[in-house]
């Protein structure tokens, strides 16, 4: 029973990441009709905002300490981060320790700006082009983005720990008399994802802006006829989608150390999630994200892998095939979207 609940938690946690990426991908597709292969790269850039923040906060003054030696036997350069010099050692260390949550503040404007530049500078020229062209150009962009990150940070994963206060495990089942120790940061991640998802839905549901965008998703031409400048709103929507992916990346960095290849790792998976959910359906994307996350978790249990060897290798794709064959447009897809 404990194991069962733990796997559900694992699934929700994986699902949160899938759902957040798929949400942004669906927003972009639904509003702009653009297939964005660079979306995984945005997630990766988000994570590297956290890495950069950590590096910036660790910028240091160097002092020679003659009592210690480095690996060549020369006197060691001892580094003291500037923040420790400025704010005192304990406050400085506290700030460095909290670099990941802090980088959320940085990530929002950065990702909005990246999204804005991407849409204005590149994506908008591809609205009327075939999906194949969109795929090629965004795939090219994804490669360029990841190679730039690689040039600066290398190919090796970079550890980006969560604040000490949010590390460690909590026993969620204490009051149920069960032992459900679960990493605190993963719980934080799940809550964070839930907040973002609800935020996006609320934004689309309850604001005029959101209503126009939803109308635009349903029928772009009509909204255009009403004299509403839908293009401008779509630019903003793209920027928002980019920052959703970016924030998902920032918060994911402490779970697995980010590397430059993350974008491609998540790209295929997130497309599967979006399509299983149904192209253009936001609730579908979220639902499929969590569903696939949970199924993936259960497929990796010993019980599953001994019943069907290798099931953990193929579960996502197997589920995708079954769902698409039984439900032609995914779980919650609408007719006529992306079928030409």
């Amino acid at each position: 029973m404990d194991a069962f609940i733990l796997q559900i938690l694992n699934g929700l946690d994986k699902g949160s990441a899938y759902a957040l990426i798929a949400l942004g991908l669906t927003l972009i597709f639904g509003t702009l009709g653009v297939v964005n292969f660079a979306h995984g790269a945005l997630f990766m850039i988000g994570a590297f905002v956290a890495v950069t923040m950590q590096k910036v906060l660790n910028l240091s003054t160097e002092l020679v300490d003659p009592t210690k030696k480095d690996f060549l036997g020369n006197p060691l350069m001892v580094k003291t981060p500037y923040v420790e010099n400025w704010f005192g050692e304990s406050a400085g260390q506290f700030i460095i320790n909290w670099s990941v949550p802090l980088s959320i503040l940085a990530a929002i404007p950065i990702m909005l700006a990246i999204g804005f530049i991407m849409e204005r500078g590149l994506i908008r020229h591809f609205y009327k082009r075939p999906h194949a062209d969109q795929i090629l150009v965004t795939f090219g962009l994804a490669i360029v983005l990841q190679e730039i990150v690689k040039a600066f940070f290398g190919a090796n994963p970079i550890q980006t720990p969560a604040p000490d206060a949010l590390n460690g495990v909590v026993n969620m089942g204490a009051w149920l008399n069960m032992s459900l120790s679960y990493p605190l940061w993963r719980i934080v991640y799940f809550c964070f994802a839930a907040i973002i998802i609800f935020g996006v839905f609320a934004f689309l549901q309850f604001t005029t802006f959101g209503m126009v965008v939803r109308a635009g998703m349903a029928d772009r031409e009509t909204v255009g006829l009403l004299g509403i400048n839908i293009d401008k709103r779509f630019t903003i929507m793209f920027a928002i989608a980019a920052s959703v992916a970016g924030l998902a990346g920032v918060m994911y960095a402490p779970i697995n150390p980010p590397n430059y290849h993350w974008g491609m790792d998540f790209l295929v998976l997130s497309f599967v999630v979006v399509v299983v959910g149904g192209m253009g359906s936001l609730p579908g994307a979220v639902l499929a994200g969590f569903l696939l996350g949970i199924l993936e978790s259960f497929a990796s249990t010993t019980w599953a892998t001994t019943t069907i060897p290798g099931i953990n290798q193929i579960i996502i794709y197997l589920v995708a095939i079954i769902i698409l064959l039984t439900r032609p447009r995914g779980l919650m897809g609408r007719k006529g979207v992306m079928e030409e």
Binding site: H131, L136, V137, F139, I143, A151, Q313, L324
Partner: protein
């Protein structure tokens, strides 16, 4: 004789000439010059040009004509390779049975997968093919290489071992061959400062490429090809015109799957090792990119796209700093360092970056791919002589 009209005959002859003369065309720079780095006229790369050309031509029959974007074609190439290597292991190193089985197995595989996937269209079709291919990859990489049932030899790749049965080998050669003529036979011709390599394996691939191109040309010009193009344009109308589009798309899918199998079989014939990663989604994505980059739906585009990407992969990735320094060594020190540092990020380990940038540039400025770029240049050249040359390209969309 070839049942081609005049224009197509010219095109076909040009392709034949380009293919057969590739050892010269790919080797424009003297061997000892600094620019020899850019020569591509060595057997392995020329074979790859031809093989991936075949792969992309086949993919184009599906994607370029019907518009069905498969993200799983590498799986057919992979099973083709495995089938071929198994023939080497069981029979002998003769490539003919291997290539035959590769095409056959790929056909069966693509018939099964196509039958299921073609129940959906658009991106749903793409994701279904992707899912099948990724499953095949995962199975080949690990599950099907377990010691008790080793079909693929997993990570290492399937290869021929000394203790394999090879029942027809007899005293035949220990390398892939065609009735005794080994694929690795290379004849080098020195002309002045140039060294041109003529490799038997390449010419085998070239013959298949020419054949593949010819078949694709015929398909493009056939009633079948016309209906495939109609499927891309308007499937509703086609169905209300009394045509059942499903068997047409399935036929196109299987044909392109067989092309992929042929490419896979040839890869194994040139180098008898089949690695699982040639089935991965990135490999499927690569052929999509080749086709779009060259010009989807055009006859020459896929070959150009394949050559372009393989060239970058094999030539640009080998340019390292010491090569750069030798290029710029004629400059004063500071200046040469400056140029080296400018070029450095784009070559060697940065070849991906260059490729990504080129994808973006080509698709932004040449929506029809490299072929359109070529047409633009051609028509501009002709317009210098006389006006109105551009019009003719517009009326021949399948060129």
């Amino acid at each position: 004789m070839l049942k081609l009209d005049k224009k197509d005959t010219t095109l076909f002859l040009v392709v034949i000439a380009m293919t057969l003369l590739a050892p010269f065309i790919m080797n424009p720079f003297p061997t000892d010059s600094g620019l020899a780095q850019f020569n591509a006229g060595y057997p392995d790369l020329m074979q790859r040009f031809a093989i991936f050309g075949i792969f992309a031509i086949g993919f184009n029959i599906l994607f370029g004509l019907t518009g069905y974007l498969s993200f799983g074609h590498a799986a057919f190439l992979g099973v083709g390779s495995y089938a071929a290597v198994w023939m080497f292991k069981l029979l002998s190193f003769n490539i003919l049975p291997a290539i035959f089985l590769a095409v056959l197995v790929a056909a069966i595989f693509s018939l099964a997968i196509g039958f299921v996937c073609l129940r959906r269209s658009g991106i749903y079709f793409s994701i279904l093919t992707l899912a099948f291919a990724q499953m095949s990859f995962a199975m080949a990489y690990s599950v099907l290489s377990n010691p008790s049932f080793n079909l693929t030899n997993g990570e290492t790749g399937l290869q021929v071992y000394a203790d394999d049965p090879q029942i027809l080998k007899g005293s035949g050669p220990d390398a892939t061959h065609l009735f005794g003529l080994e694929m690795r036979n290379t004849f080098t011709l020195d002309v002045g400062a140039w060294a041109f390599q003529f490799n038997l394996g390449f010419y085998i691939c070239a013959m298949f490429l020419i054949l593949a191109f010819y078949i694709s040309l015929r398909i493009f010009r056939s009633p079948f090809g016309l209906i495939l193009r109609a499927i891309k344009t308007n499937q509703t109308r086609l169905n209300f015109t009394g045509t059942n589009s499903r068997p047409y798309t399935l036929a196109a899918f299987v044909i392109s799957g067989m092309y992929a199998g042929l490419a896979g079989g040839l890869m194994a014939a040139m180098d008898p090792l089949a690695g699982a990663e040639r089935m991965q989604w990135t490999a499927s994505g690569e052929v999509v990119l080749m086709t779009i980059l060259g010009g989807a739906g055009t006859l020459l585009g896929p070959i150009l796209g394949a050559g372009f990407i393989k060239y970058f992969e094999n030539i640009f990735s080998k340019i390292n700093d010491s090569v750069l320094q030798s290029w710029f060594s004629f400059m004063p020190d500071g200046l040469s360092d400056f140029f080296v540092s400018i070029v450095h990020p784009f070559v060697g380990k940065g070849w991906h970056l260059t490729l990504g940038l080129l994808f973006m540039l080509v698709v932004t400025f040449l929506p029809g791919g490299l072929v359109e770029g070529g047409q633009k240049i051609w028509s501009r050249l002709r317009n210098k002589d006389k006006d109105g040359g551009a019009k003719s390209t517009a009326t021949t969309p399948a060129e």
